[in-house]
Subunit: 509 residues, 2 copies
């Protein structure tokens, strides 16, 4: 499962290859564009205003952002490892044709590389298609893997909302032929653990099944060829009212009012295992074999979730549709429900703490589902490898954590230095360097100023600025006595330590 984690979900449509034609059109466009550029440059005198910026929709991560990023990654990776996942990596670009026909309309958002002679390449758009390519290429039929890496989309960025053209995806997937709903339940357990540990506030995990949606559309009288388009309208229920969704179904998509109303009844339903049980008895719904298969699996899933003790956050929600077309079974999406998080955003933005009125939904922070057909698209013989996965909306989580850090009194440390080796007197550079090396050799994180005679004040200031807790102060008297004065920066408390800097016994720190 992989997604943009943003307001507009990407819609992956399993199109057939139409490369030849598309190329011909693109080439004409390219030629026109280049000729225009040539004309433009020709009129120029060659002078050039240098622009100091990153590419549109991208950003540098500064040390503070990196410290937050590392903390989030550590939590997530620990969870993946606790569940026995391996990890793989794939190249940042794939053959263009590997991505062709996988993303439907959104293919226009793919970054292509220039044809510099050789293969036609594109930057990866997600991690799921490269994963499927990897499995098919290496004939792997079962694996539990995570992959954290950047993906690329030529979208209109809304960077203030944590939406970029270069952004991380953080995927966990289980591939293999297993008994129903066991790996699926583990994916939900993982989402639960991660959101719990990241401490982002309360959350809900919505669950549904593509077969239930399809069955529901069938029994409500939606024509087969309108399943996908009606499904994508249902997907908007988290941002639009039912009235507007119904209008779109009837007016734009040509559905009968009666069918729409019946759908409306179903998609308002939320519950747990009991709701699945109830719908299995539902006169209409029970007519669809597909729906019944999905409902039985939802029941089974909930029984496993009970064993995993996570049902308090999971809700069976018939309005959950998910944008991606490749899902074949269970689908899920986690959303933060606590106003607190959104209000953090508001506070950070307008500097008015406590004004929670403007708090809005922060949207989904994880999602995924079962996609049993994707790997088969890559296998020359079409052999299927059933897969279920989850993608953590890591960029959104970064945003929330950055905002939290912003309003928090606690300072984010960007280094882990434990001790600064300083001196109050002049001409002690050699002694400082020697002691610092001793500390490094003992595995202690230590720093020393790169000046012959730094002022004590500037050395102490550096400690305070970067949160170094201890400072080892060398002086003539201490050297004579064979000791080092160790000061706790915060309290200014001092103790003397005996240090024989000739025989590497500085482990007393």
């Amino acid at each position: 499962g992989c997604d943009r984690w943003a307001d507009c979900c990407s819609c992956l449509k399993l199109q057939t290859h139409t490369m030849g034609l598309v190329y011909l059109l693109q080439i004409d466009e390219e030629v026109a564009k280049l000729l225009e550029l040539k004309a433009r440059l020709g009129g120029d005198d060659g002078k050039h205003q240098f622009v100091l910026k990153t590419a549109k929709g991208t950003r540098d991560y500064n040390p503070k952002q990196m410290a937050i990023r590392e903390k989030v990654f550590n939590t997530i990776i620990s969870c993946f490892k606790r569940h026995g996942a391996e990890t793989i990596d794939t190249p940042v670009f794939e053959l263009k044709e590997t991505l062709t026909g996988k993303y439907g309309e959104d293919s226009k958002l793919i970054y292509d590389l220039k044809d510099q002679g050789g293969e036609l390449l594109s930057l990866r758009y997600d991690l799921t298609v490269p994963f499927a390519r990897y499995l098919a290429m290496n004939k792997i039929t079962n694996i539990k893997r995570y992959h954290i890496a950047k993906v690329y989309r030529r979208d209109n960025p809304a960077m203030t909302r944590g939406r970029y053209r270069e952004f991380y995806q953080c995927d966990f997937d289980i591939a293999g032929q297993y008994d129903a709903m066991i790996p699926d339940a583990e994916c939900l357990k993982i989402v639960y653990e991660i959101l719990h540990e990241l401490d982002l506030g309360d959350f809900r995990i919505k669950v549904n099944d593509r077969r239930i949606l399809d069955g529901m559309f069938a029994v409500c009288g939606v024509p087969d060829d309108k399943f996908r388009t009606i499904c994508s309208t249902v997907d908007k229920l988290d941002k639009m009212s039912w009235e507007d969704v119904k209008k779109e179904m009837v007016n734009e998509k040509g559905l009968s009012e009666q069918a729409a109303d019946q759908i409306g009844e179903y998609v308002s339903m939320q519950g747990g295992m009991d709701l699945a049980e109830h719908l299995l008895q539902d006169q209409k719904m029970s007519q669809s074999k597909q729906a019944c298969a999905g409902l039985s699996d939802i029941k089974l899933l909930f029984s496993y979730l009970q064993l995993f003790q996570v049902t308090d956050k999971v809700v069976f929600d018939l309005s959950l549709a998910r944008g991606l077309d490749y899902y074949t079974g269970v689908i899920y999406e986690a959303v933060l429900t606590q106003a607190g998080v959104a209000s953090v955003t508001t506070e950070a933005q307008n500097g008015a703490p406590g004004s929670t009125e403007e708090s809005v939904s922060v949207g989904s922070v994880a999602g995924g589902g079962r996609y049993d057909g994707l790997v088969g698209m890559f296998d020359p013989k079409g052999r299927k490898v059933p897969c279920v996965g989850v993608s953590i909306g890591i960029e959104r989580i970064f945003s929330i954590m950055e905002q939290k850090a912003e309003v928090s009194a606690e300072k984010v440390r960007t280094t882990e230095v434990q001790v600064m080796v300083a001196s109050a007197q002049k001409n002690l550079l050699e002694e400082r360097l020697k002691l610092t090396a001793e500390l490094w050799n003992a595995g202690i994180k230590a720093e020393v100023m790169y000046k012959k005679n730094p002022k004590l004040l500037s050395q102490l200031q550096h400690c305070e600025e970067s949160g170094i807790p201890l400072v080892a102060i060398l002086g003539e008297q201490e050297l004579k006595d064979g000791v080092v004065k160790l000061r706790v920066v915060a309290t200014r408390e001092e103790v003397s330590h005996t240090v024989d800097i000739h025989t590497r016994t500085a482990k007393g720190f």
Copy 2:
């Protein structure tokens, strides 16, 4: 400092901008290429043979390779952190113009993105230019940072030798106006620590200074405009004999035989602080102010290296030139000297253990130097930020570690799972899932098979294959007794543990 870490060093030439002209030529080329492609595709019937591969010169990392990669990264990052470094990240692509004029002839190896309307972008070629761009853009005048990320070069890959079009760079740099040679000495200390900890065998760190090279060329009678080209010939001394290098100087580069011979005398010199002292007294060399400045700094550097206790591996070598043109002061390069490592390669390749005759130099595994001018190229007012850095040749290190793992008896684990929850009897799926969740909740890395009734043998086999040390076996009797049988997979030793799986007290593991 940044480099390809391969046989042919990349040569960064600080050219002036000639973008306008270059574009005009490129556009004509592009138009011709596209029209040709159009003709080719037009003749095609649209059918398309699907190729299942990664892009030329790139590779996937499988879980085993990732486990090795993670281990190497952990060692290196620990060292960087011990030295108080922060980390940053930059986008994988930069504005094309940011890279223009930074890499000389090698600019042709830059991957450009297709112009899809918007900015012209290129994939980063190294991490040093983005770092300089970052410093100038954010007006940062001092920072100690590391950056580990992939860079891209449209080179002819020699993948068997660990050379790819997509490969990692692993850079540590200190930017700021500091007292001479202190940060430079720390960079060498870091190289020493990392190579020592990675346990790759014996190594040497060669040190030289660009000012000594330039001074040497001057006093040997090399014309000013031939410094760079003669320098790049000297750089070949690690792969070519002096005779061949001399031939190139005289025959190809038009140097006088006498000048070449004088250079030959100098570049054969190796030593320590004593050699620097000796050359400061050298009648010829002492005529060059530049050389003297460099020699004094080498002396100072060695005095700091003595304090850091690393002089046993460092050698002042006048033949070290380094390919990159942006260096302005001290330069260094670490090479593995132990035949053992190369012989591992040989063994792994031809399966003949002990045949060390074919062992060849594995080349440099780290290198860098001082580049005081690069940031100024990005600053609108040309403000300089002195920098010194080192780049660890991580891809070569991966190769060596992979080969070592290949010939080693020890199996590389790709997961960290501590315990497998199994059952010998049927119908215990619920109990297995429940216990597994207890273990996860207690922070224990645990796995369970995704089958209702897996065979005990297949559960044990999985443990052996993936190196899981413990298996918790559930059975009717154990459940009745309220215990779990815990078996050490390797020895088959068994003990019973009391486990109350209702109250989360499974921490006894």
